[in-house]
C-alpha cells in the first residue's frame, strides 16, 4: 500500500514485516467478510430455486407456502418434506453449503439431541437439535460486530474525554480524573448483570450498558498524550497563529494520540468480545435463541457427554481472540518508533 505521509508508510512497512500479525489480519478479514454473508453460507432456505419455469430467491424474499401449491398462508418451510416434494416435482432448489440456519431445529436426528458430528451436521447439534457450525458462523459475526461497534463507540468517547482533560488541564482534568477513579473502581461485571436484569437485553441494550464502562480504557492514554503535546512548540505556534482549540486538538494533537489509540484498539475489541461471551455464558446476555459463542460454551458445560459442543466453542473463540491479539501486537510494534526507524 502507498501512503503520502512517509511516517505512515514506514509504519505500514513495519507492520507488514511482522509476518504473524500481517497474516492474522488477512485471515481475520477473510473470516469476518465471510461471516458477514452468513445467510448465504448457512441457511434453511434455498439460495435460488426454479418452480414452474420461474426463478425464486427465498433467501431474500419471503414467499407464502401457497405459492408452491401448499395450504398455509405463512412463509414456506423449505425443509418440510411435503413442501420440498411440491417444489422438486416441478423445478429444482439450490441449497447453501450448510442447509441450516442458527435457529433451525433438525427433527431428523437418529439420536436424541445433542447429536454428535455427522455428514448432516458437521460439528453436531446442540441440545435443542440446532446445527453447531451454523450457530458458530452466526455467533462469530455477532461477536465481532458487537466488539467492533463497542470499540469504535468507546474509542470516540474515550478520545473525546481524554483530549478535553489533557488539553484544558487544571480543574477539568482534576475533576475528570477523580470521576474516572470512582467509576472504574465499580465491580463492572456485576453491575452489568444487575442492569441487564432491569431490561430485556438485546444487542443495543447490552452495547449501551457495556459502553458505560468500556470507554475508560483509552482516557488515560489520550489524556497523557495531550498533556505532553500541549507544550510542543508546534502546538504553541498554532495557538500563536490564532488557530482555534478544536482545530489544534484535531489537527496537531490527535495524530499523536492516535498511535496509542490504534495500538490499544485490538485489545479493546478483544475484551468486548470476552465480556459479551461471559455474559452469554452466565445467561445474562443476548436474548434466548440468539447465536452466541458464550451460550454454546454454556451448553458444553451442561452437556459434558457431548464434547463437540465445548470443543467447537472453545476452538472458535480461541482462534478469534488469538488472531486479534496477534494483530494488536503487530500494530503496537509498527507504531513503536524504535522499531520502524531502525
Amino acid at each position: 500500500m502507498q501512503f503520502s505521509n512517509p511516517v505512515t508508510q514506514r509504519q505500514w512497512n513495519a507492520f507488514r514485516q511482522n509476518k504473524r500479525g500481517y497474516w492474522s489480519l488477512w485471515l481475520f478479514s477473510v473470516l469476518f467478510v465471510l461471516s458477514l454473508f452468513a445467510e448465504l453460507i448457512a441457511n434453511d432456505k434455498p439460495l435460488v430455486m426454479r418452480y414452474q419455469s420461474e426463478f425464486y430467491f427465498p433467501v431474500a424474499v419471503s414467499y407464502p407456502e401457497t405459492t408452491f401449491g401448499g395450504v398455509f398462508e405463512t412463509e414456506a418451510n423449505y425443509r418440510d418434506p411435503f413442501v420440498r416434494e411440491l417444489i422438486e416435482n416441478d423445478g429444482w432448489m439450490l441449497w447453501p453449503l450448510i442447509p441450516y440456519s442458527y435457529n433451525t431445529i433438525n427433527y431428523d436426528l437418529d439420536v436424541p439431541a445433542p447429536a454428535p458430528p455427522s455428514a448432516d451436521n458437521w460439528l453436531g447439534t446442540d441440545d435443542q437439535g440446532r446445527d453447531v457450525l451454523a450457530r458458530i458462523i452466526y455467533g462469530f459475526r455477532l461477536s465481532v460486530l458487537f466488539g467492533l461497534v463497542l470499540t469504535i463507540a468507546s474509542s470516540i468517547i474515550g478520545i473525546l474525554v481524554g483530549a478535553i482533560q489533557g488539553y484544558y488541564g487544571g480543574w477539568i482534568d482534576l475533576a475528570g480524573q477523580r470521576f474516572l477513579e470512582v467509576w472504574s473502581s465499580m465491580p463492572i461485571l456485576f453491575l452489568i448483570i444487575i442492569l441487564t436484569s432491569f431490561v430485556t437485553p438485546n444487542f443495543w441494550w447490552l452495547l449501551g450498558i457495556m459502553l458505560l464502562f468500556s470507554w475508560m480504557s483509552l482516557v488515560d492514554l489520550v489524556r497523557a498524550e495531550f498533556l505532553r503535546c500541549r507544550n510542543f512548540d508546534y502546538v504553541r505556534a498554532a495557538r500563536a497563529l490564532g488557530v482555534s482549540s478544536p482545530v489544534i486538538m484535531f489537527r496537531h494533537m490527535l495524530p499523536n494520540a492516535m498511535v496509542a489509540t490504534l495500538t490499544f484498539m485490538p485489545f479493546i475489541l478483544n475484551s468486548g468480545i470476552v465480556t459479551l461471551t461471559s455474559l452469554d455464558f452466565l445467561g445474562f446476555g443476548l436474548p434466548p435463541g440468539s447465536p452466541s459463542l458464550g451460550e454454546l460454551l454454556g451448553q458444553g458445560k451442561a452437556n459434558l457427554q457431548a464434547p463437540w459442543l465445548g470443543i467447537s466453542a472453545f476452538a472458535s473463540l480461541s482462534i478469534l481472540l488469538t488472531l486479534l491479539i496477534f494483530i494488536g501486537e503487530a500494530v503496537r510494534d509498527a507504531f513503536d518508533p524504535r522499531k520502524y526507524l531502525s
Partner: protein, 531 residues
C-alpha cells in the same frame, strides 16, 4: 614534555554509510596540556573521544594504526585492561550532568563507587578522599553535599560533582565532552576556569570537545578543527585562530556572529508593556496552602517600530515567560499595548484577529514543525485561519512566495519536515510566521540549536527581512554575541526582574549593574588563560 595520548590514523565507520564517521584522525596530547577538538555537530568529535576507551556503539567499526596511552597501545588492549583504565587513568566528563548522575544515589555514593572500583581502601579513607575531591572542585560545604541527591544540586554543582568523580582516581587524561554546553554563561566560565586550574595543579592532559571557538581561544593550548570526520587543521591555538590555513577554519571564525542591526526607519512605539507580572501557583498536595512563584516581576519594556529588542538572561530568568505573556499565550497582570490595541483586555474570539499582528519562532527546529504535515500545509495554516476566503490556488501562491522570500525552494512545499536540516526548518518556521505579515515577531532563542555557520545565515536572513518589511523583533537569547549582532535595544533579566535596559552598544561597552558586567565579562573575555 611527554605525550600522554597519541592517536594515529583512527577511522570509525558505520555499516550502511558510505562516508566514514571518523576518517584517518591523528592527534596527540602532552602532559599538562589542553587539546581542543572543535567542529560542528556530526563532525565526529565525540566518536573520536569515545574510541579512545572503546565506548563506541556496538555497530561501529573502528580501525587505527595505534592509540598510545603512556606508550601502551590501548587500541589492541583486552577488555579487562580497558576496564582498569576507564575511570582510573582515563576519565570522562559528559555534557548533561543530570543524566550522567544516577538520580537515586547520593553524591557520596556516586563518587565512592569509582574509587572503590579501582582502589582497595578503608571506608574512612574513602570518605576522606570524597571530601578532599569536593573541596578540590571548589564546592562549598562538602560535608553537607555528601548526603544530597543530584536533583538537589544546581547544574553547575552537578558538573563539579562529575569532575570530582572523574578526578577520583588521579587520572592522567581527562576527556571532557562539551562539559559546559548545557550551562549558563557565567557558570560555564567558572567550570572551565576550574578545569583549567586542575589541569595546571594536577599536571593533567585534557581533551576538550566543544563547538565554541570562544572557549577554545580562551582555554586550550592546542586545537584540532574537525569537519565531516576529518581533521582539517591542527596546531597551536593562537596560530590556528589568528592565521587559519584551511578555508573551513576561516569560515568557522568568520561565521561568529558579528555586524550590527540595520538602522531603523522610524521611531514610533509598536509595543509597550507596562508593569507586566506572571505568577504561577505552586501547591504541595491537594490541601496545602497555595504559594505564588513570580516568574516575571513588574517588567516594563517598549519595542519601537522596525527595531529589535534583545532580551538576555540565564535560564530561569523569565525571558521566555515574558515573551509568552506578551503573545497572550500565558496569563499575566499588567498592560500590553500593541499599536493602539490593549491586548491584555482581549480574550478568545476578540483576540484572534490580533494574533496575525504578532508571531513567534521557537528554539527547537525539530519540535516546531508538526511532523505529520507537509511544509506547504504548515506554512498555510495561518492563512486558513485569518484569510479563509482565499482559494486554494491563491494560498498556494502565497506559500510559494514566502518560501522564496526565506530562501527555500518553493518546490519543497510538498515535502515533510524530517527531510530538512535544522537551519532549513527554522526558515520554514520563520515563513509560517511571516506569511501573516505580522508587525511584531518574537524570536525565542531561534539560533541556539543551530551550528555556528547556520546561525550566521539565519541571522542574516532576519536582518534582511527586518529591513525589507520594517518588522519589529523581540529577540530572546542567552548568547550575548548573537544578541549584540541583531538588537538595537537590550533588556537584561535576572530572576524575573529587569536588571538593566538601554541601547545595546551602551550596555555592552559600559554596563552599569554588576550582574550585567559579570555576564558580559563571561561572554567576551578572549585572552588565553595561561596554564
Amino acid at each position: 614534555m611527554s605525550k600522554v595520548l597519541d592517536i594515529r590514523q583512527l577511522s570509525v565507520s558505520f555499516p550502511g554509510q558510505a562516508q566514514p564517521a571518523v576518517d584517518n584522525v591523528s592527534l596527540s596530547i602532552g602532559q599538562g596540556r589542553m587539546h581542543a577538538l572543535v567542529g560542528e555537530s556530526g563532525s565526529g568529535k565525540s566518536l573520536t573521544a569515545l574510541s579512545i576507551l572503546k565506548l563506541l556503539p556496538p555497530t561501529a567499526d573502528a580501525h587505527a594504526e595505534a592509540i598510545d596511552f603512556r606508550d601502551e597501545n590501548i587500541f589492541v588492549a583486552s577488555e579487562p585492561r580497558l576496564r582498569a583504565l576507564r575511570g582510573a587513568a582515563i576519565s570522562m566528563i559528559f555534557q548533561e550532568p543530570l543524566s550522567a548522575l544516577n538520580p537515586l544515589h547520593k553524591v557520596e555514593k556516586q563518587i565512592c563507587e569509582g574509587i572503590l572500583l579501582h582502589q582497595k581502601i578503608t571506608p574512612d579513607a574513602v570518605r576522606k578522599r570524597c571530601l578532599e575531591l569536593l573541596a578540590k572542585v571548589q564546592l562549598p560545604n562538602p560535608e553537607s553535599l555528601l548526603n544530597r541527591y543530584p536533583h538537589q544540586l544546581s547544574g553547575g554543582q552537578r558538573q563539579r560533582v562529575m569532575i570530582a568523580m572523574a578526578l577520583a582516581n588521579n587520572p592522567a587524561l581527562l576527556i571532557a565532552d562539551e562539559p559546559t554546553t548545557a550551562l549558563d554563561v557565567t557558570v560555564q566560565e567558572s567550570i572551565l576556569d576550574l578545569l583549567k586550574q586542575l589541569q595546571r595543579d594536577l599536571d593533567l592532559a585534557v581533551l576538550l570537545i566543544t563547538h565554541d571557538l570562544g572557549i577554545v581561544q580562551r582555554y586550550a593550548e592546542e586545537v584540532s578543527v574537525m569537519r565531516a570526520g576529518q581533521i582539517v587543521e591542527q596546531g597551536n591555538t593562537g596560530e590556528v585562530l589568528s592565521a587559519p590555513q584551511h578555508e573551513y577554519t576561516r569560515h568557522l571564525i568568520d561565521s561568529a556572529p558579528g555586524g550590527h542591526a540595520p538602522t531603523p526607519q522610524s521611531g514610533t512605539n509598536l509595543l509597550s508593556v507596562d508593569e507586566l507580572s506572571v505568577r504561577f501557583t505552586q501547591r504541595q498536595g491537594m490541601f496545602a496552602r497555595k504559594s505564588l512563584f513570580t516568574a516575571v516581576d513588574h517588567a516594563s519594556i517598549e519595542v519601537p517600530k522596525g527595531e529589535t529588542l534583545g532580551i538576555v538572561g540565564e535560564s530561569g530568568s523569565g525571558k521566555s515567560t515574558l515573551a509568552m505573556a506578551i503573545l497572550r499565550l500565558l496569563g499575566s497582570e499588567g498592560r500590553i499595548r500593541l499599536g493602539d490595541t490593549r491586548l491584555d483586555q482581549l480574550t478568545g474570539d476578540a483576540l484572534r484577529p490580533q494574533r496575525r499582528r504578532m508571531q513567534v519562532v521557537f528554539q527547537d527546529p525539530y519540535g516546531t514543525l508538526n511532523p505529520r504535515m507537509t511544509i506547504g500545509q504548515i506554512v498555510a495554516e495561518g492563512l486558513q485561519v485569518h484569510q479563509p476566503a482565499l482559494s486554494r490556488a491563491q494560498r498556494d501562491e502565497a506559500v510559494a512566495a514566502i518560501l522564496r522570500e526565506v530562501g527555500l525552494d518553493p518546490d519543497t512545499r510538498h515535502r515533510y519536515p524530517h527531510e530538512f536540516s535544522g537551519g532549513q526548518r527554522q526558515r520554514v518556521a520563520i515563513a509560517r510566521a511571516l506569511i501573516l505579515e505580522p508587525e511584531l515577531l518574537v524570536l525565542d532563542e531561534p539560533t541556539s540549536a543551530l551550528d555556528r555557520s547556520v546561525q550566521h545565515q539565519v541571522l542574516e536572513l532576519l536582518r534582511s527581512l527586518q529591513q525589507r518589511h520594517g518588522l519589529s523583533y523581540i529577540f530572546i537569547s542567552h548568547d550575548l554575541r548573537v544578541v549584540r549582532a541583531i538588537s538595537h535595544k537590550l533588556v537584561v533579566m535576572h530572576e524575573g526582574r529587569i536588571v538593566e535596559q538601554g541601547d545595546t552598544e551602551r550596555i555592552f561597552t559600559a554596563p552599569e549593574k554588576p550582574y550585567t558586567q559579570r555576564l558580559i565579562h563571561a561572554a567576551f573575555d578572549e585572552t588565553l588563560k595561561r596554564a
